[in-house]
Protein backbone atom coordinates (compact mmCIF):
# COMPACT_ATOMS: atom_id res chain seq x y z
CA UNK A 1 0.00 0.00 0.00
CA UNK A 2 1.18 3.46 -0.50
CA UNK A 3 1.18 5.10 -3.87
CA UNK A 4 3.62 3.61 -6.28
CA UNK A 5 2.11 5.96 -8.84
CA UNK A 6 3.74 4.47 -11.89
CA UNK A 7 2.40 0.92 -11.37
CA UNK A 8 -0.52 0.37 -13.71
CA UNK A 9 -3.35 -1.52 -12.06
CA UNK A 10 -6.24 -0.82 -14.42
CA UNK A 11 -6.48 -1.68 -18.08
CA UNK A 12 -7.44 0.81 -20.77
CA UNK A 13 -10.85 -0.85 -21.11
CA UNK A 14 -11.61 -0.05 -17.44
CA UNK A 15 -11.19 -3.57 -16.20
CA UNK A 16 -8.60 -4.66 -13.64
CA UNK A 17 -5.42 -6.53 -14.50
CA UNK A 18 -7.01 -9.93 -13.79
CA UNK A 19 -10.02 -9.06 -15.96
CA UNK A 20 -12.44 -8.33 -13.13
CA UNK A 21 -14.84 -5.41 -13.09
CA UNK A 22 -14.41 -2.77 -10.40
CA UNK A 23 -17.14 -4.27 -8.21
CA UNK A 24 -16.37 -7.89 -8.95
CA UNK A 25 -15.16 -10.30 -6.28
CA UNK A 26 -12.64 -13.09 -6.73
CA UNK A 27 -14.22 -16.57 -6.79
CA UNK A 28 -15.08 -17.88 -3.32
CA UNK A 29 -15.63 -21.50 -2.29
CA UNK A 30 -16.36 -22.73 1.22
CA UNK A 31 -16.39 -26.20 2.68
CA UNK A 32 -17.53 -26.93 6.24
CA UNK A 33 -16.47 -29.79 8.49
CA UNK A 34 -13.15 -30.66 6.89
CA UNK A 35 -11.24 -31.55 10.09
CA UNK A 36 -12.56 -34.59 11.96
CA UNK A 37 -10.67 -33.84 15.19
CA UNK A 38 -12.12 -30.35 15.57
CA UNK A 39 -15.54 -29.55 17.02
CA UNK A 40 -16.13 -27.37 13.98
CA UNK A 41 -14.04 -26.51 10.95
CA UNK A 42 -14.12 -24.86 7.56
CA UNK A 43 -11.93 -24.14 4.56
CA UNK A 44 -12.35 -20.97 2.54
CA UNK A 45 -10.72 -20.32 -0.81
CA UNK A 46 -10.97 -16.68 -1.83
CA UNK A 47 -9.16 -16.11 -5.08
CA UNK A 48 -5.76 -17.68 -4.42
CA UNK A 49 -6.16 -17.41 -0.63
CA UNK A 50 -6.72 -20.66 1.24
CA UNK A 51 -7.77 -20.34 4.89
CA UNK A 52 -8.56 -23.22 7.23
CA UNK A 53 -10.27 -22.59 10.56
CA UNK A 54 -10.80 -25.04 13.40
CA UNK A 55 -12.91 -24.48 16.51
CA UNK A 56 -12.44 -26.36 19.79
CA UNK A 57 -14.71 -26.00 22.78
CA UNK A 58 -16.28 -24.40 24.68
CA UNK A 59 -13.83 -25.78 27.21
CA UNK A 60 -12.48 -24.90 30.64
CA UNK A 61 -10.36 -21.75 30.25
CA UNK A 62 -6.71 -22.22 31.18
CA UNK A 63 -4.81 -20.61 32.75
CA UNK A 64 -7.57 -19.72 35.18
CA UNK A 65 -6.58 -16.07 35.26
CA UNK A 66 -8.03 -15.62 31.76
CA UNK A 67 -11.47 -16.82 32.87
CA UNK A 68 -14.30 -14.31 32.84
CA UNK A 69 -17.03 -14.99 35.39
CA UNK A 70 -19.83 -13.74 33.15
CA UNK A 71 -18.85 -14.99 29.71
CA UNK A 72 -16.62 -17.15 27.58
CA UNK A 73 -13.37 -15.86 26.15
CA UNK A 74 -12.58 -16.40 22.48
CA UNK A 75 -8.97 -17.32 21.94
CA UNK A 76 -8.02 -16.78 18.31
CA UNK A 77 -4.72 -17.79 16.81
CA UNK A 78 -4.16 -16.57 13.25
CA UNK A 79 -1.10 -17.96 11.55
CA UNK A 80 0.32 -17.94 8.06
CA UNK A 81 2.01 -21.16 7.02
CA UNK A 82 5.68 -20.76 6.04
CA UNK A 83 4.83 -21.94 2.52
CA UNK A 84 1.81 -19.65 2.10
CA UNK A 85 3.73 -17.02 0.12
CA UNK A 86 6.56 -17.17 -2.39
CA UNK A 87 8.97 -15.79 0.25
CA UNK A 88 9.17 -18.23 3.15
CA UNK A 89 7.54 -16.85 6.30
CA UNK A 90 9.38 -17.43 9.55
CA UNK A 91 7.18 -19.78 11.60
CA UNK A 92 5.58 -18.54 14.79
CA UNK A 93 3.81 -15.47 16.06
CA UNK A 94 4.81 -12.05 14.81
CA UNK A 95 3.43 -8.55 15.25
CA UNK A 96 1.04 -8.88 12.32
CA UNK A 97 -0.39 -12.25 13.36
CA UNK A 98 -0.89 -11.01 16.93
CA UNK A 99 -2.78 -7.98 15.65
CA UNK A 100 -4.99 -10.01 13.34
CA UNK A 101 -5.65 -12.59 16.08
CA UNK A 102 -6.74 -9.80 18.41
CA UNK A 103 -9.05 -7.99 15.98
CA UNK A 104 -10.55 -11.29 14.83
CA UNK A 105 -11.25 -12.34 18.44
CA UNK A 106 -12.89 -9.00 19.19
CA UNK A 107 -15.01 -9.22 16.04
CA UNK A 108 -16.13 -12.76 16.85
CA UNK A 109 -16.89 -11.86 20.49
CA UNK A 110 -19.49 -9.39 19.25
CA UNK A 111 -21.25 -12.12 17.29
CA UNK A 112 -20.97 -15.20 19.50
CA UNK A 113 -23.36 -15.40 22.48
CA UNK A 114 -20.43 -15.62 24.89
CA UNK A 115 -22.62 -15.13 27.97
CA UNK A 116 -23.96 -18.67 27.50
CA UNK A 117 -20.65 -20.20 28.60
CA UNK A 118 -19.21 -18.29 31.57
CA UNK A 119 -15.66 -19.15 32.70
CA UNK A 120 -14.98 -21.11 29.54
CA UNK A 121 -12.90 -20.66 26.43
CA UNK A 122 -13.63 -21.15 22.75
CA UNK A 123 -10.42 -21.78 20.84
CA UNK A 124 -10.32 -20.70 17.19
CA UNK A 125 -7.32 -21.64 15.08
CA UNK A 126 -6.94 -19.95 11.70
CA UNK A 127 -4.25 -21.23 9.40
CA UNK A 128 -3.51 -19.50 6.11
CA UNK A 129 -2.22 -22.12 3.69
CA UNK A 130 -1.95 -19.82 0.69
CA UNK A 131 -1.93 -16.04 0.70
CA UNK A 132 -2.79 -13.50 -1.99
CA UNK A 133 -4.09 -10.38 -0.18
CA UNK A 134 -7.20 -10.47 1.99
CA UNK A 135 -6.16 -13.31 4.30
CA UNK A 136 -7.68 -11.73 7.42
CA UNK A 137 -11.05 -11.53 5.66
CA UNK A 138 -10.81 -15.13 4.44
CA UNK A 139 -9.78 -16.16 7.96
CA UNK A 140 -12.74 -14.40 9.57
CA UNK A 141 -15.16 -15.98 7.12
CA UNK A 142 -13.65 -19.42 7.75
CA UNK A 143 -13.76 -18.93 11.53
CA UNK A 144 -17.40 -17.90 11.37
CA UNK A 145 -18.41 -21.01 9.40
CA UNK A 146 -16.34 -23.20 11.75
CA UNK A 147 -18.07 -21.69 14.80
CA UNK A 148 -21.49 -22.38 13.30
CA UNK A 149 -20.36 -25.90 12.41
CA UNK A 150 -19.29 -26.44 16.03
CA UNK A 151 -22.77 -25.52 17.24
CA UNK A 152 -21.66 -22.34 19.00
CA UNK A 153 -24.65 -19.97 19.40
CA UNK A 154 -24.23 -16.79 17.35
CA UNK A 155 -26.35 -13.76 16.46
CA UNK A 156 -25.34 -14.01 12.82
CA UNK A 157 -22.62 -15.30 10.54
CA UNK A 158 -19.72 -12.87 10.30
CA UNK A 159 -18.41 -12.20 6.81
CA UNK A 160 -14.98 -10.72 6.08
CA UNK A 161 -14.67 -8.61 2.91
CA UNK A 162 -12.43 -5.79 1.71
CA UNK A 163 -12.48 -2.93 -0.76
CA UNK A 164 -9.79 -0.46 -1.65
CA UNK A 165 -8.59 2.24 -4.00
CA UNK A 166 -6.28 1.90 -6.98
CA UNK A 167 -5.41 4.67 -9.43
CA UNK A 168 -7.96 6.88 -7.58
CA UNK A 169 -10.77 4.43 -8.30
CA UNK A 170 -12.58 2.35 -5.67
CA UNK A 171 -12.47 -1.37 -6.33
CA UNK A 172 -13.82 -4.43 -4.53
CA UNK A 173 -11.66 -7.24 -3.16
CA UNK A 174 -8.03 -6.28 -3.81
CA UNK A 175 -5.66 -8.85 -5.22
CA UNK A 176 -1.96 -8.95 -4.39
CA UNK A 177 -0.79 -6.30 -6.85
CA UNK A 178 -3.66 -3.97 -5.94
CA UNK A 179 -2.95 -4.49 -2.24
CA UNK A 180 0.77 -3.82 -2.63
CA UNK A 181 0.61 -0.87 -5.01
CA UNK A 182 -2.90 0.54 -4.39
CA UNK A 183 -3.79 3.63 -2.40
CA UNK A 184 -6.18 2.26 0.24
CA UNK A 185 -7.48 -0.97 1.75
CA UNK A 186 -10.70 -1.22 3.78
CA UNK A 187 -11.28 -4.68 5.30
CA UNK A 188 -14.51 -5.03 7.28
CA UNK A 189 -16.44 -7.73 9.12
CA UNK A 190 -20.14 -7.53 8.32
CA UNK A 191 -23.20 -9.21 9.82
CA UNK A 192 -25.28 -9.57 6.65
CA UNK A 193 -28.67 -10.12 8.25
CA UNK A 194 -28.57 -7.01 10.43
CA UNK A 195 -26.14 -4.90 8.41
CA UNK A 196 -23.95 -4.33 11.47
CA UNK A 197 -20.19 -3.94 11.26
CA UNK A 198 -18.19 -6.04 13.71
CA UNK A 199 -14.77 -4.78 12.73
CA UNK A 200 -13.32 -2.21 10.38
CA UNK A 201 -9.76 -1.30 9.54
CA UNK A 202 -8.45 1.16 7.01
CA UNK A 203 -5.03 1.46 5.48
CA UNK A 204 -4.47 4.50 3.24
CA UNK A 205 -6.80 7.39 2.54
CA UNK A 206 -10.37 7.48 1.23
CA UNK A 207 -12.59 10.53 0.78
CA UNK A 208 -16.11 10.31 2.32
CA UNK A 209 -17.60 9.53 -1.10
CA UNK A 210 -14.98 6.89 -1.80
CA UNK A 211 -15.55 5.40 1.64
CA UNK A 212 -19.30 5.20 1.03
CA UNK A 213 -18.76 3.52 -2.33
CA UNK A 214 -16.25 1.08 -0.82
CA UNK A 215 -18.73 0.17 1.91
CA UNK A 216 -21.46 -0.27 -0.68
CA UNK A 217 -19.20 -2.73 -2.51
CA UNK A 218 -18.39 -4.47 0.78
CA UNK A 219 -22.05 -4.96 1.72
CA UNK A 220 -22.83 -6.30 -1.74
CA UNK A 221 -19.95 -8.76 -1.55
CA UNK A 222 -20.86 -9.75 2.02
CA UNK A 223 -24.35 -10.74 0.85
CA UNK A 224 -22.82 -12.93 -1.87
CA UNK A 225 -20.34 -14.59 0.49
CA UNK A 226 -23.07 -15.09 3.10
CA UNK A 227 -25.06 -17.13 0.59
CA UNK A 228 -22.01 -19.30 -0.07
CA UNK A 229 -21.50 -19.76 3.70
CA UNK A 230 -25.09 -20.83 4.26
CA UNK A 231 -24.89 -23.17 1.30
CA UNK A 232 -21.69 -24.75 2.66
CA UNK A 233 -23.27 -25.38 6.07
CA UNK A 234 -26.43 -26.82 4.53
CA UNK A 235 -24.47 -28.97 2.10
CA UNK A 236 -22.54 -30.53 5.00
CA UNK A 237 -25.74 -31.81 6.52
CA UNK A 238 -27.71 -32.54 3.36
CA UNK A 239 -29.59 -35.82 3.56
CA UNK A 240 -30.20 -35.03 7.19
CA UNK A 241 -33.58 -35.49 8.75
CA UNK A 242 -32.69 -34.87 12.38
Amino acid sequence: MGGYGDVKLLRDDGLRLDGRKLDEMRPVTIEAGILPAADGSAMVTHGLNVAVAAVYGPMEAHPRKIQRQDRAVIDVRYNMAPFSTSDRIRPGFNRRSREISKVTAEALESVVLVERYPRSKIRVEIEILAAEAGTRCAGITAASVALADAGIPMRDLLVGVASGKVEDIVVLDLDKAEDNYGQADLPVGILPNTGEIAFLQMDGDLSPDEYNLAMEYNFKAAAEIHEIMVDALKRRYEGGEN
Binding site: E60, A72, R119, A148, I152, D156, P192, N193, L233, E241
Partner: protein, 231 residues
Protein backbone atom coordinates in the same frame (compact mmCIF):
# COMPACT_ATOMS: atom_id res chain seq x y z
CA UNK B 1 -34.78 -37.92 17.22
CA UNK B 2 -38.11 -36.30 17.60
CA UNK B 3 -38.90 -33.32 15.49
CA UNK B 4 -42.23 -32.44 17.04
CA UNK B 5 -43.71 -31.52 13.69
CA UNK B 6 -45.53 -34.71 12.81
CA UNK B 7 -44.14 -35.10 9.33
CA UNK B 8 -44.07 -31.42 8.42
CA UNK B 9 -41.12 -30.38 6.27
CA UNK B 10 -38.00 -29.87 8.37
CA UNK B 11 -36.11 -26.65 7.84
CA UNK B 12 -32.36 -26.34 8.33
CA UNK B 13 -31.35 -22.89 9.55
CA UNK B 14 -28.01 -21.19 10.15
CA UNK B 15 -27.19 -18.55 12.79
CA UNK B 16 -28.85 -15.22 12.04
CA UNK B 17 -31.45 -16.67 9.69
CA UNK B 18 -35.01 -15.44 10.22
CA UNK B 19 -37.41 -18.18 11.30
CA UNK B 20 -40.60 -16.15 11.42
CA UNK B 21 -42.45 -13.32 13.19
CA UNK B 22 -42.19 -13.31 16.97
CA UNK B 23 -45.75 -12.06 17.56
CA UNK B 24 -47.70 -14.57 19.61
CA UNK B 25 -44.83 -17.05 19.67
CA UNK B 26 -42.55 -18.09 22.48
CA UNK B 27 -38.85 -18.34 21.83
CA UNK B 28 -37.21 -21.62 22.76
CA UNK B 29 -33.61 -22.76 22.80
CA UNK B 30 -31.41 -22.04 19.80
CA UNK B 31 -33.44 -18.97 18.84
CA UNK B 32 -33.64 -15.29 19.70
CA UNK B 33 -36.30 -12.58 19.29
CA UNK B 34 -34.90 -9.57 17.45
CA UNK B 35 -36.95 -6.70 16.01
CA UNK B 36 -40.26 -8.61 15.92
CA UNK B 37 -38.55 -11.54 14.24
CA UNK B 38 -37.36 -14.83 15.63
CA UNK B 39 -33.86 -15.62 14.41
CA UNK B 40 -31.86 -18.81 14.75
CA UNK B 41 -28.71 -18.67 16.86
CA UNK B 42 -27.52 -22.13 15.93
CA UNK B 43 -27.11 -24.40 12.97
CA UNK B 44 -29.98 -26.86 13.28
CA UNK B 45 -33.54 -27.84 12.54
CA UNK B 46 -36.49 -25.58 13.29
CA UNK B 47 -38.95 -27.06 15.75
CA UNK B 48 -42.49 -25.74 16.39
CA UNK B 49 -44.07 -27.18 19.51
CA UNK B 50 -46.90 -25.76 21.63
CA UNK B 51 -46.52 -22.25 20.24
CA UNK B 52 -42.80 -22.34 20.94
CA UNK B 53 -40.19 -21.99 18.23
CA UNK B 54 -36.80 -23.51 18.89
CA UNK B 55 -33.85 -24.88 16.95
CA UNK B 56 -32.63 -28.43 17.48
CA UNK B 57 -28.88 -27.94 17.05
CA UNK B 58 -26.88 -30.33 14.87
CA UNK B 59 -23.86 -29.89 17.12
CA UNK B 60 -23.84 -28.80 20.72
CA UNK B 61 -21.56 -28.68 23.74
CA UNK B 62 -22.43 -30.90 26.70
CA UNK B 63 -24.17 -28.90 29.43
CA UNK B 64 -24.11 -30.97 32.64
CA UNK B 65 -27.29 -31.58 34.59
CA UNK B 66 -27.72 -33.12 37.99
CA UNK B 67 -28.09 -36.90 37.75
CA UNK B 68 -26.29 -37.35 34.40
CA UNK B 69 -24.25 -40.54 34.07
CA UNK B 70 -20.98 -39.55 32.41
CA UNK B 71 -17.63 -40.96 31.37
CA UNK B 72 -15.04 -38.51 32.70
CA UNK B 73 -11.25 -38.26 32.58
CA UNK B 74 -9.01 -37.02 35.38
CA UNK B 75 -7.52 -33.67 34.34
CA UNK B 76 -5.90 -32.48 37.60
CA UNK B 77 -5.26 -33.97 41.01
CA UNK B 78 -5.12 -32.02 44.28
CA UNK B 79 -4.61 -33.23 47.83
CA UNK B 80 -8.28 -33.83 48.46
CA UNK B 81 -10.05 -33.74 45.09
CA UNK B 82 -9.82 -34.46 41.41
CA UNK B 83 -10.68 -32.08 38.56
CA UNK B 84 -12.38 -34.10 35.84
CA UNK B 85 -12.69 -33.40 32.15
CA UNK B 86 -16.38 -33.97 31.46
CA UNK B 87 -16.23 -33.02 27.77
CA UNK B 88 -18.04 -29.76 28.46
CA UNK B 89 -17.30 -26.07 28.95
CA UNK B 90 -16.60 -26.59 32.65
CA UNK B 91 -14.50 -29.10 34.55
CA UNK B 92 -16.17 -31.36 37.09
CA UNK B 93 -14.96 -31.55 40.65
CA UNK B 94 -14.78 -34.92 42.40
CA UNK B 95 -14.06 -34.44 46.12
CA UNK B 96 -12.47 -37.32 48.00
CA UNK B 97 -15.58 -37.58 50.16
CA UNK B 98 -17.54 -38.63 47.06
CA UNK B 99 -14.97 -41.16 45.82
CA UNK B 100 -15.76 -44.86 46.30
CA UNK B 101 -12.64 -45.39 48.41
CA UNK B 102 -11.52 -44.14 51.78
CA UNK B 103 -9.01 -41.50 50.76
CA UNK B 104 -6.59 -39.90 53.20
CA UNK B 105 -5.83 -36.20 52.75
CA UNK B 106 -2.89 -35.96 50.34
CA UNK B 107 -3.33 -39.49 48.99
CA UNK B 108 -5.66 -38.73 46.09
CA UNK B 109 -2.91 -39.53 43.56
CA UNK B 110 -2.60 -43.07 44.88
CA UNK B 111 -6.16 -43.80 43.79
CA UNK B 112 -6.43 -41.94 40.48
CA UNK B 113 -3.97 -40.02 38.35
CA UNK B 114 -4.21 -37.74 35.35
CA UNK B 115 -5.73 -39.55 32.37
CA UNK B 116 -7.64 -42.17 34.36
CA UNK B 117 -11.18 -42.71 33.14
CA UNK B 118 -14.14 -43.07 35.48
CA UNK B 119 -17.84 -43.68 35.32
CA UNK B 120 -19.40 -40.99 37.49
CA UNK B 121 -22.65 -39.20 38.07
CA UNK B 122 -23.25 -35.45 38.20
CA UNK B 123 -24.17 -34.73 41.81
CA UNK B 124 -24.84 -31.03 41.57
CA UNK B 125 -24.59 -28.08 39.19
CA UNK B 126 -24.96 -24.68 40.82
CA UNK B 127 -25.90 -21.36 39.26
CA UNK B 128 -22.23 -20.50 38.74
CA UNK B 129 -21.83 -23.68 36.68
CA UNK B 130 -19.70 -25.39 39.33
CA UNK B 131 -20.08 -29.09 38.65
CA UNK B 132 -19.70 -31.65 41.46
CA UNK B 133 -19.40 -35.32 40.54
CA UNK B 134 -19.89 -38.41 42.64
CA UNK B 135 -18.61 -41.96 42.34
CA UNK B 136 -20.77 -43.22 45.17
CA UNK B 137 -23.52 -45.29 43.61
CA UNK B 138 -24.23 -48.62 42.01
CA UNK B 139 -21.91 -49.30 39.07
CA UNK B 140 -19.90 -46.09 39.41
CA UNK B 141 -16.22 -46.95 39.25
CA UNK B 142 -12.85 -46.38 37.69
CA UNK B 143 -12.74 -47.85 34.17
CA UNK B 144 -9.44 -49.72 34.03
CA UNK B 145 -9.95 -51.53 30.72
CA UNK B 146 -11.53 -50.85 27.36
CA UNK B 147 -11.44 -47.73 25.25
CA UNK B 148 -13.28 -44.42 25.17
CA UNK B 149 -14.86 -42.98 22.03
CA UNK B 150 -16.82 -39.83 21.27
CA UNK B 151 -20.19 -39.16 19.68
CA UNK B 152 -21.85 -35.77 19.16
CA UNK B 153 -24.13 -34.86 22.08
CA UNK B 154 -27.03 -34.47 19.68
CA UNK B 155 -26.62 -38.05 18.42
CA UNK B 156 -26.67 -39.82 21.77
CA UNK B 157 -30.37 -40.59 21.49
CA UNK B 158 -29.72 -42.01 18.04
CA UNK B 159 -27.02 -44.28 19.44
CA UNK B 160 -29.26 -45.45 22.28
CA UNK B 161 -32.40 -45.86 20.19
CA UNK B 162 -35.94 -46.22 21.45
CA UNK B 163 -35.78 -47.83 24.89
CA UNK B 164 -32.02 -48.50 24.44
CA UNK B 165 -32.83 -50.84 21.53
CA UNK B 166 -30.02 -49.67 19.25
CA UNK B 167 -27.28 -49.79 21.87
CA UNK B 168 -28.43 -53.27 22.88
CA UNK B 169 -28.18 -54.35 19.23
CA UNK B 170 -24.61 -53.08 19.16
CA UNK B 171 -23.76 -54.87 22.41
CA UNK B 172 -25.16 -58.12 21.05
CA UNK B 173 -23.45 -57.71 17.68
CA UNK B 174 -19.94 -57.11 19.01
CA UNK B 175 -20.25 -58.95 22.33
CA UNK B 176 -18.81 -55.93 24.15
CA UNK B 177 -19.78 -53.97 27.20
CA UNK B 178 -20.81 -50.48 26.06
CA UNK B 179 -21.68 -47.56 28.32
CA UNK B 180 -22.95 -44.33 26.78
CA UNK B 181 -22.25 -41.26 28.90
CA UNK B 182 -24.58 -38.28 28.68
CA UNK B 183 -21.47 -36.23 27.91
CA UNK B 184 -20.91 -37.89 24.54
CA UNK B 185 -18.20 -40.25 25.73
CA UNK B 186 -18.75 -43.94 25.06
CA UNK B 187 -16.83 -46.65 26.90
CA UNK B 188 -16.37 -49.96 25.09
CA UNK B 189 -14.79 -53.07 26.57
CA UNK B 190 -14.44 -56.52 25.02
CA UNK B 191 -12.10 -58.38 22.70
CA UNK B 192 -10.12 -56.51 20.04
CA UNK B 193 -12.41 -57.49 17.15
CA UNK B 194 -15.46 -56.43 19.11
CA UNK B 195 -13.97 -53.07 20.05
CA UNK B 196 -12.88 -52.48 16.44
CA UNK B 197 -16.41 -53.17 15.21
CA UNK B 198 -18.00 -51.05 17.92
CA UNK B 199 -15.70 -48.23 16.90
CA UNK B 200 -16.98 -48.49 13.32
CA UNK B 201 -20.55 -48.34 14.60
CA UNK B 202 -19.78 -45.28 16.73
CA UNK B 203 -18.08 -43.61 13.75
CA UNK B 204 -21.23 -44.32 11.76
CA UNK B 205 -23.30 -42.49 14.38
CA UNK B 206 -20.81 -39.64 14.13
CA UNK B 207 -21.00 -39.32 10.34
CA UNK B 208 -24.55 -40.46 9.57
CA UNK B 209 -26.46 -40.11 12.83
CA UNK B 210 -28.47 -37.23 11.39
CA UNK B 211 -29.28 -38.95 8.10
CA UNK B 212 -32.31 -40.93 7.04
CA UNK B 213 -30.01 -43.69 5.82
CA UNK B 214 -28.62 -44.34 9.32
CA UNK B 215 -30.76 -47.40 10.09
CA UNK B 216 -29.94 -49.04 6.75
CA UNK B 217 -26.22 -48.28 7.15
CA UNK B 218 -26.25 -49.72 10.66
CA UNK B 219 -28.01 -52.88 9.49
CA UNK B 220 -25.41 -53.28 6.74
CA UNK B 221 -22.64 -52.90 9.32
CA UNK B 222 -24.31 -55.46 11.57
CA UNK B 223 -23.90 -58.06 8.83
CA UNK B 224 -20.13 -57.69 9.28
CA UNK B 225 -20.24 -57.93 13.05
CA UNK B 226 -17.82 -60.31 14.81
CA UNK B 227 -20.74 -62.41 16.04
CA UNK B 228 -21.71 -63.07 12.43
CA UNK B 229 -18.27 -64.55 11.85
CA UNK B 230 -17.24 -62.15 9.07
CA UNK B 231 -14.98 -59.83 10.99
Amino acid sequence: MSNGQNGAELRLVTPGMAIGPSAGMRVGSGALAQNDTIIATRLGWVKHLNNTVSVDPINSAYMPRSGDLIVATVAEVRNNLWFMNINGPFQGLLPMSLAPWKVEFGAARQHMGIGDVVLARVQEVDECHNVVLTMKGVGLRRLNQGSVHSVPITHIERLRGEGNATIQRLRDACDCRIIVGENGKVWVDGDADGIAWARQAIDLVHTSGHKKSFEADLSALENNAPKNGDA
